[in-house]
C-alpha cells in the first residue's frame, strides 16, 4: 500500500464524523439540564478577589512570564482589579460605567461579545432587552449625577435607547414567527416589564434634563410605549393560539398588563386635555352623557388674531380642532379598550390597544403642531399676543427672548416641561419642534 493512501483512508473516517448529524432537540434539552445542574452545583463560597485576579493573570499570561511579574505583582493585581472589578460583592467597575467613563467602551464590548455569541433569536432578544434595561439605568445614574456634559451624554444614551427599541421591535416580530410559544411568552413578559421601567425612568428624567434633550426623551418614551403594546399583543397572540397550555400566559397577566397601559395612556390623555384647555383654544363640554368632550373655543383671542397667519402655516384654530379630534378619538379608543377588558375579549383587545396607542401618538403630534402654529402665529402678531398669552398659555415653554412674559420664538418651541408622558411619534412632521441633531453617536448597536 503506497504511503499516502493510508492517510486518505484515515481521513475518510474523519469525513464520516463530520457528516454526523447532531440531534438539535437533544442539544437543546441537554443545555437546559446543564443550566439546571450548573445552578445546583454552584459553590456557595464566593470567589475572593485575590484568587479571581490570580486566575485572570494565569489565564492570559503563560506561567514562564508570570515569574517576571512577581515583583510588580501588586501593581499588576491592582490594574487587573480595576479591569475585572473588585470583590465579588460589589459590581464590577466596568459594569458600573456610564457613557463618558473610561471603562464604558469595555462594557459595551462585553455586551456586544455576548450578543454575537448568543445563538437563538429568543435569547438574543432577551439579552437585548436586558441591555435596554442597562441603558435606562445609565440614564438614571447620569441624571442623578453631576457629571460634566451630562445633558449630552443623556441625549446620546437616549438616542441609543430609541434605536434599541426599533431593533427590539423587529426582533420581536421575528421571534413571534419562529420561536416556541413558551419562549415568546417569556420574552414578551420580560420586554413588557422592562419597558414599564423605562417609561417610568424617562418620565422622571425628563424633569431634570435640559430642553434639547427633552424631545429625545419624549421620542424614546413613544418608542417604549409602542414596544410594550407590541409585547402585550404578542402575549395575546400566544394565549389565543389553540394548542398552548394555559399556564404559559394567564388571562390575569394579560389583563393586568393591558390595564397598566390603559391607565398610562389615560394619564397622558388627561395631561394633553389640560394643556389644550389651558391654551384657551378649547374647553370641555358635557353634551354627551359618557364623558366630557372637547370642543374648540370659538371665542379665544388667539383665534381672532389668526388672520395674520400666512397661508403656509396652519392656523391655531385648525390645529386646535385637529387636537380636539385626536384627543376625542383617543378617549373613545381607550373607553372601548376598557370595555373589552371587562368582556375579556382578548382578540378585540389586541387590536383596540394598538389603536389606542396610535391615537395617543396622534394626540401628541397634534399638540406639537398646535404649539408651532401658535408660535408662528405669535411671532407675526407679537406684541398683542404676548399680553394675552401671559394668561392663556402657561403651559407653553420657550427659550426666552423678551422681558416679563416668556417670549415665544418662531423656531423651536419644545413641548411643555410639565411632567406628562405624552408619547411623540418619532416621525413628527413638524420640523419646528424636533431638534434636528445629526450627531453620530459613538454607541453603535448591532
Amino acid at each position: 500500500m503506497p504511503s499516502l493512501s493510508w492517510k486518505r483512508t484515515l481521513k475518510r473516517m474523519h469525513q464520516t464524523s463530520q457528516h454526523v448529524k447532531v440531534d438539535e432537540a437533544w442539544v437543546g434539552l441537554q443545555r437546559q439540564k446543564l443550566v439546571v445542574h450548573l445552578a445546583k452545583t454552584m459553590p456557595v463560597d464566593p470567589v475572593s478577589a485575590k484568587s479571581s485576579a490570580r486566575s485572570y493573570l494565569s489565564q492570559f499570561i503563560p506561567a514562564r512570564f508570570a515569574v517576571f511579574l512577581r515583583r510588580p505583582a501588586l501593581a499588576m493585581l491592582s490594574i487587573f482589579g480595576v479591569v475585572t472589578g473588585g470583590s465579588v460583592a460589589s459590581v464590577s467597575a466596568a459594569e458600573r460605567a456610564v457613557p463618558g467613563d473610561l471603562l464604558y467602551p469595555l462594557k459595551i464590548v462585553k455586551e456586544q461579545t455576548s450578543l454575537v455569541f448568543t445563538k437563538s433569536k429568543t435569547d438574543k432578544l432577551k439579552l437585548k432587552t436586558e441591555f435596554v434595561g442597562r441603558r435606562i439605568e445609565e440614564v438614571k445614574a447620569l441624571a442623578l449625577s453631576d457629571a460634566p456634559q451630562k445633558g449630552e451624554r443623556i441625549k446620546e444614551t437616549v438616542e441609543v435607547l430609541k434605536r434599541d427599541f426599533d431593533t427590539v421591535k423587529t426582533q420581536l416580530s421575528e421571534v413571534k414567527k419562529e420561536a416556541q410559544p413558551r419562549d415568546i411568552a417569556a420574552t414578551a413578559k420580560l420586554i413588557d416589564q422592562k419597558t414599564k421601567e423605562v417609561v417610568k425612568t424617562l418620565k422622571d428624567v425628563k424633569a431634570v434634563v435640559p430642553v434639547e434633550v427633552q424631545t429625545k426623551v419624549v421620542e424614546a418614551q413613544a418608542a417604549a410605549v409602542e414596544i410594550s403594546v407590541k409585547a402585550v399583543q404578542a402575549l395575546i397572540d400566544v394565549k389565543t393560539a389553540s394548542d398552548v397550555h394555559d399556564d404559559v400566559v394567564t388571562n390575569e397577566e394579560i389583563v393586568e398588563s393591558v390595564q397598566d397601559k390603559v391607565s398610562g395612556l389615560e394619564q397622558n390623555l388627561s395631561d394633553a386635555t389640560q394643556k389644550l384647555v389651558a391654551t384657551g383654544l378649547a374647553s370641555t363640554s358635557t353634551t354627551s352623557s359618557t364623558a366630557p368632550l372637547l370642543i374648540v373655543n370659538a371665542s379665544s383671542s388667539l383665534i381672532t388674531a389668526s388672520s395674520t397667519v400666512t397661508s403656509t402655516q396652519v392656523s391655531p384654530s385648525v390645529a386646535a380642532s385637529t387636537s380636539v379630534d385626536t384627543i376625542n378619538s383617543a378617549k373613545l379608543a381607550l373607553d372601548q379598550t376598557k370595555q373589552l377588558i371587562s368582556e375579556q375579549d382578548l382578540e378585540g383587545l389586541k387590536d383596540k390597544l394598538g389603536q389606542a396607542a396610535q391615537a395617543a401618538v396622534q394626540v401628541e403630534n397634534s399638540l406639537v403642531a398646535l404649539e408651532s402654529a401658535v408660535a408662528a402665529n405669535a411671532s407675526s402678531t407679537a406684541a398683542a399676543l404676548m399680553l394675552t398669552a401671559s394668561s392663556t398659555l402657561p403651559a407653553l415653554q420657550a427659550s426666552g427672548t423678551t422681558s416679563t412674559v416668556p417670549g415665544m420664538t418662531t423656531g423651536t418651541v419644545p413641548l411643555s416641561v410639565s411632567s406628562s408622558t405624552l408619547p411623540v411619534s418619532s416621525v413628527s412632521g413638524s420640523s419646528s419642534a424636533a431638534s434636528t441633531t445629526t450627531s453620530t453617536s459613538t454607541f453603535k448597536t448591532p
Partner: protein, 189 residues
C-alpha cells in the same frame, strides 16, 4: 489560543459564570458529540458520554486551577469517558482484556464508515480501513494515539498535547515519527 475561549474560560474559572459555561457548551457540543460518536456503539451512548463530558468538565473547572485550554480539556475528558465505557463493558461482560479499547473503537469505527463518494463500495472501504487500523495497532501506543487523534479526529496539535499530557513540540516529533513508522509497516505489504 482562541480569544473567545480564553474569555469564557476566565469567566467560568474566576466568576463561576454559568452563562459563560453554557456558551462553551454551545460552541463545542457538536464537536464532542462527533468525536465520541464514531467510537461508541450507539447514538444513546454517544449522547450520554457527551453530556457527562460537559458535566465533569464543569466540575473540573471549579476545582482545578490549572486549566488554560478548555477545548482540549473537553476532548481529554471525553476520551477518558469513552475508555471508561469500554472498561466497564469488559468488566461487566467479563470479556478478557484481549478485547482491547483499540479493537472496540476500531470495530465501532468500521461500522460507522460511510460510503466513499468516488464509488468504492462500502465493503472495500471497510476492508481498507481495517487493514490500516491493524497496522496501526502494531505501533507503540504513543504513535497510535497521535495518528488517530490527528487523522481521524482531526485535532490540532495543541489539543493532542493536552490529551497526551505532553508538550506540543514533542507531539509534532511523535507525529512525524509515527507517520514514518506506519509507512514502513504498510510498504512491506
Amino acid at each position: 489560543m482562541n480569544l473567545l475561549d480564553q474569555y469564557l474560560l476566565f469567566r467560568v474559572r474566576s466568576r463561576r459564570d454559568a452563562e459563560a459555561y453554557a456558551k462553551i457548551y454551545d460552541r463545542y457540543v457538536a464537536s464532542i458529540y462527533r468525536f465520541v460518536f464514531l467510537k461508541l456503539p450507539s447514538k444513546e451512548q454517544a449522547e450520554d458520554v457527551t453530556s457527562e463530558t460537559f458535566l465533569r468538565t464543569w466540575q473540573y473547572l471549579l476545582d482545578q486551577s490549572d486549566v488554560w485550554h478548555v477545548r482540549a480539556l473537553l476532548y481529554q475528558v471525553a476520551r477518558n469517558l469513552v475508555a471508561d465505557f469500554y472498561r466497564k463493558i469488559s468488566k461487566e461482560r467479563e470479556i478478557p482484556l484481549s478485547v482491547t479499547l483499540f479493537d472496540a473503537t476500531t470495530s465501532s469505527l468500521i461500522d460507522r464508515l460511510s460510503d466513499d463518494r468516488r464509488g468504492q463500495t462500502q465493503t472495500e472501504a471497510r476492508a481498507e480501513f481495517a487493514l490500516v487500523m491493524r497496522s496501526i495497532s502494531r505501533l507503540k501506543e504513543d504513535y497510535q494515539d497521535v495518528l488517530l487523534l490527528r487523522y481521524i479526529d482531526g485535532l490540532p496539535f495543541e489539543d493532542i498535547a493536552r490529551i497526551l499530557n505532553k508538550n506540543v513540540g514533542n507531539v509534532r516529533v511523535l507525529f512525524h515519527r509515527a507517520s514514518k513508522a506506519l509507512d514502513h509497516l504498510l510498504e512491506k505489504k
